[in-house]
């Protein structure tokens, strides 16, 4: 165990980790800039008013938290079982936590938007329901990680759960879709990307880029801290 830590850093030295490095700084600026553009420099939707602009943070967060984070979690868990590289375990841990964050944003901004367009805070619409289940799944994954003492066991057991979770996702989608298929969803507004006028489309695309940058920047910081934390634990154990 101590040897694998030594391959990453010199023995006795802690790995480098800065809370805000250049990449994160740039992505913070990007996200703030896109928010400013969305709020003040993008036209207001005629039917829904200003609340429609939540779309510019809600959808990019969903792409980052649902597709990218959960995809990374699944792949790194399966690869860890095969390759046993602790960096894969740190990637899994980081994608779970940062993914939970972004999915949380989706689950809070979604109802705010739904309230204005559909009149209710919650609606059992296919995608937000799947997001809720995935959020709970990833939360369970993180609780499991917190409950296992030994780092090797933690990596191995959470990789097992991560791999099974990867298999579960298509089943959740199918279940929710089948369920929604029986009860027609709201007719007023489809949550799919509507055909957007050019200024809104530009803002939307910029938002996707900014949020993806932020996601990867946070992922990197989180992984670096995990390496620092593990190296410290190994140092203190030795």
């Amino acid at each position: 165990m101590a040897t694998s830590a030594a391959t990453i850093t010199a023995p006795g030295k802690l790995p480098e980790a800065k809370p805000i490095d250049g990449f994160l700084a740039i992505s913070i600026v990007a996200v703030l800039a896109v928010c400013v553009r969305a709020i003040w420099f993008t036209p207001v939707d005629a039917m829904l008013g200003a609340a429609q602009k939540i779309f510019y943070v809600h959808v990019p967060s969903a792409i980052a938290g649902l597709y990218v984070a959960c995809g990374l979690l699944a792949v790194s868990s399966i690869l860890y079982l095969w390759l046993k590289d602790e960096r894969l375990d740190r990637l899994a841990e980081a994608s779970a936590e940062v993914g939970l964050l972004f999915m949380g944003i989706v689950l809070v901004t979604g109802p705010i938007w739904a309230r204005t367009s559909w009149g209710t805070w919650w609606v059992w619409e296919a995608r937000i329901t799947s997001t809720l289940f995935l959020w709970l799944l990833v939360l369970g994954y993180l609780v499991l990680r917190g409950a296992v003492e030994s780092p090797e066991n933690r990596a191995r057991l959470s990789a097992v759960m991560g791999s099974l979770a990867a298999l579960l996702v298509p089943f959740i989608h199918l279940t929710v879709k089948l369920f929604r298929g029986m009860h027609p969803g709201p007719v007023v507004l489809k949550p799919e990307k509507p055909s957007l006028p050019p200024e809104m489309l530009t803002t939307f695309l910029m938002a996707i880029v900014a949020f993806m940058l932020l996601f990867f920047a946070l992922l990197r910081v989180r992984m670096r801290w995990a390496a620092l934390r593990d190296a410290r634990t190994a140092m203190e154990a030795a």
Binding site: L137, L139, V143, L144, E149, A159, I172, T175, L178
Partner: protein
Amino acid sequence: MSGGAPKPAVLAPAFLADALRIARKDLLIEFRTRSAFMAATVFAVLSVVIFRFTWDPTAIPAFDLAPGVLWVIFTFSGLLGLNRSFGLELSDRAYDGLLASQVSRESIFVGKVLANLAFVSGVQALALPAVALFFDLHVGSAWGVLIGIVLCASLGLAAVGTLFAAIASNTRLAELLLPMMTLPFFVPLVIPAAQTSAYILRGQPLEDAMPWFKLLLAFDLVFVTACIVVFPYTIEE
């Protein structure tokens, strides 16, 4: 059992025999104390009574409420049984003894799944008639299909639940962790089962509920296989 490379013709019966032996051992231990089974059945019957007394028959017909009740009971009484699944060996480090024997990891897993399957089916054998009785359900010829649905769902629950019980037994908060980890996995199992039984209890033929039933069967197929494959990774080298 000889070490070395067993011939395939000899391997299959040995695997099954080992699994059945382990299942029998687990069930015998449970049968002697009966504590988990009692807890699960008492829970099931109490739940039925509570649901019955909080139900307004004029507002909701029985066949609309009963599937939900049935499958909630199924899920939580199943969890009660799963908790004790690996706890049996943890005392006296009997698990290490089991692992050191010639028995393959996969047959340990299948054996425990079979034991849990028997447990869950046993509880359902009591809960189903209780629900039918208290909610005055006219099941009639649909009993066969209903039992089939329960068995299919029990298989999926037993496979996934046993695997997560193995994981949870390595942790400090096993009783809290097991429901937290498994409930999202039970969703694509319990919802199709509930929907299919809703169709059946309303008197519709199984063909109408085929999409749901096929989803249930697909879940069983995929997850029983996956859990068998992944189980050895839950064991420390």
